[in-house]
């Protein structure tokens, strides 16, 4: 690798990081320094205080945390059961059912916003956190991933457990689930980041502070019409992305590997 290339690689890295670095600059300095880069500018936390006061961030945080936990919990249970069925039970219509599951990989719930909104209205789930999460709980990706993992587990382990008197559920819980732990971790990371960042469907199905997740709250807060200045918007944006960003910095390798698995499928 030539020196020119090394410098180019670093410059691109700086360019790639610059929007985020700028957000940090604007958020931690008084508004009058938002567009002038004076290294001696005083540091301040006032922007964070203002942002925290302008939008109901604690409530949005709570909503997002409830949302991602609820979705992940339901996904883990539903996808484990379905993945186990596809991997180890040779039931009638299995291949057709599996093909129908895979359809969801192509048609994500956000494409069907019109009909799904109508369904939520019928169920009385408009403007509820359950309403945001429900369409995502049976995840084709999760079912697919767990089916693949369960299929690699040797049948002998299962037979040994059966001989010891384990029930089907016992086999699933004591043999399959523990051995699939890396898959669960990868899936959980992807699911949590996806739903922490998801916007379109939550925007449509919620209409009050009590249910809106962070992304929707941030969109309302950051809209140019709201008249809030850049420093405060930067602070608000950082507040909203901080938990995920910190988690990413701590577990970089797992994140990248999980995202890759998610993409390759």
């Amino acid at each position: 690798m030539t020196t020119v290339e090394k410098i180019a690689a670093w410059l691109l890295a700086i360019l790639w990081l610059s929007p985020l670095l700028y957000a940090f600059w604007a958020a931690f300095h008084p508004p009058e320094f938002a567009t002038t880069f004076d290294p001696l500018a005083p540091l301040t936390l006032a922007n964070f205080e203002k942002a925290w006061g302008y939008a109901p961030f604690p409530r949005h945080f709570l909503n997002t945390v409830i949302l991602v936990t609820m979705i992940l919990g339901a996904q883990l249970v539903l996808c484990t059961l379905a993945g186990f069925a596809f991997a180890r039970f040779d039931f009638a219509g299995r291949d057709l059912a599996f093909a129908l599951v895979l359809v969801q990989l192509m048609i994500m719930p956000e494409v069907l916003i019109v009909e799904n909104y109508r369904t939520m209205a019928r169920l009385g789930l408009v403007d509820t956190i359950l309403g945001i999460g429900l369409p995502y709980m049976a995840s084709a990706f999760g079912i697919f991933l767990l089916r693949q993992t369960f299929k690699t587990i040797p049948r002998e382990l299962e037979e040994a457990a059966r001989v010891e008197g384990c029930s089907w559920m016992g086999v699933l819980w004591r043999v399959y689930v523990p051995l699939a732990r890396p898959t669960y971790l990868a899936y959980a990371l992807v699911s949590v980041s996806y739903h922490w960042n998801n916007f379109l469907w939550p925007l449509i199905v919620t209409n009050s502070v009590n249910t809106r997740p962070l992304t929707v709250g941030l969109a309302i807060f950051g809209a140019p019409e709201s008249g809030v200045d850049w420093s405060v918007i930067s602070a608000g944006t950082l507040i909203a992305v901080a938990p995920l960003l910190v988690a990413f910095l701590l577990f970089q390798r797992q994140f990248m590997q999980s995202f890759m698995q998610a993409g390759i499928k």
Binding site: I113, P135, I233, G263
Partner: protein, 287 residues
């Protein structure tokens, strides 16, 4: 017994999948043949009237064109950048982990937050882009308010957001290439560019095709940023198909027409899925 167990295990997931994927897909298709019902006028069967309206709707054709330009603007550049990034962080580079981290970070940020940050760059006069242009004596420019530049702004931001994500697939592919190839090439005295174009690039072809299809599908699903940056404007210059569906359904309340537009989107996604499936089946390899 295995039939009963199999179906019992599958039932909870199957109910939700049918309710929120299969049923709405079929209902969307059905709705596209009916008029939008109101309190006084119930919806009635109108055959292909909605499709005729669609063919005559200049905005529909514009968003389709926009989607095409958006895809063409984002995909080749982000794939090329992704490959370059992967080659760089796969080589011996000081502070390599930090560089890789910088490239990948945009991937974990929500599109809404990203749009908030980029909106500042594009703001006339006080925005960073205008400031830099001002240093060279260029006049102030309303980047997002001008139909000629707005798409370019959206494309630039999307490339920034996506390139690092595609990079990790190239990185994984590069790491799986046998190191003997490079040694052999070095012994033979092949130049680096010769080695790249004759050996590495062809071997990465499956990854490139895979990323290409995924990027294309993404370009039809990615609309969050429009809510912050442009709202599809000015004059629909940056509007995309999914955002237009949202507008028709939830701002104009024309659910029948929104269903018709959704059918077009579903047809496009299905076509790409078939393409993807065929690529996986064929396993493009040059060995």
């Amino acid at each position: 017994m295995r039939h009963v167990y199999g179906w019992l295990l599958l039932t909870p997931a199957a109910i939700l999948l049918v309710a929120f994927t299969h049923y709405p897909a079929v209902a969307t298709l059905a709705d596209s043949f009916f008029s939008a019902g109101t309190a006084v006028r119930p919806s009635r069967f109108v055959g292909l009237d909605n499709y005729a309206a669609l063919a005559a709707d200049p905005v529909f054709w514009q968003v389709l064109r926009n989607n095409f330009w958006f895809a063409l603007g984002t995909i080749p550049t982000s794939i090329a950048l992704a490959l370059l990034m992967a080659l760089w962080v796969n080589a011996r580079l000081p502070a390599r982990a930090l560089v890789r981290l910088s490239y990948f970070t945009p991937t974990v940020l929500p599109m809404i937050a990203v749009a908030n940050l980029w909106l500042y760059f594009y703001t006339p006069q006080i925005g960073l882009l205008d400031k830099v242009a001002g240093l060279f004596g260029a006049p102030s420019h309303n980047w997002l308010g001008n139909p000629d530049t707005v798409m370019g702004c959206v494309i630039a931001m999307t490339i920034w957001k996506e390139a690092g994500f595609f990079m990790i697939f190239y990185l994984a592919a590069l790491q799986s290439l046998p190191p003997e190839l490079e040694e052999a090439a070095r012994i033979e005295g092949a130049s680096r560019s010769y080695f790249f174009w004759r050996v590495t690039f062809p071997l990465l072809m499956p990854t490139t095709l895979f990323v290409l299809v995924n990027a294309t599908i993404n370009s039809f699903k990615l609309v969050d940023h429009l809510f912050i940056l442009t709202k599809g404007g000015p004059d629909n210059a940056s509007n995309l198909l999914l955002y237009y569906i949202y507008q028709v359904a939830f701002s104009f309340f024309d659910t029948a027409y929104a269903a018709t537009l959704t059918v077009i989107l579903l047809a496009l996604l299905a076509a790409f899925a078939v393409l993807q499936f065929q690529l996986i089946e064929r396993r493009v390899h040059y060995r």
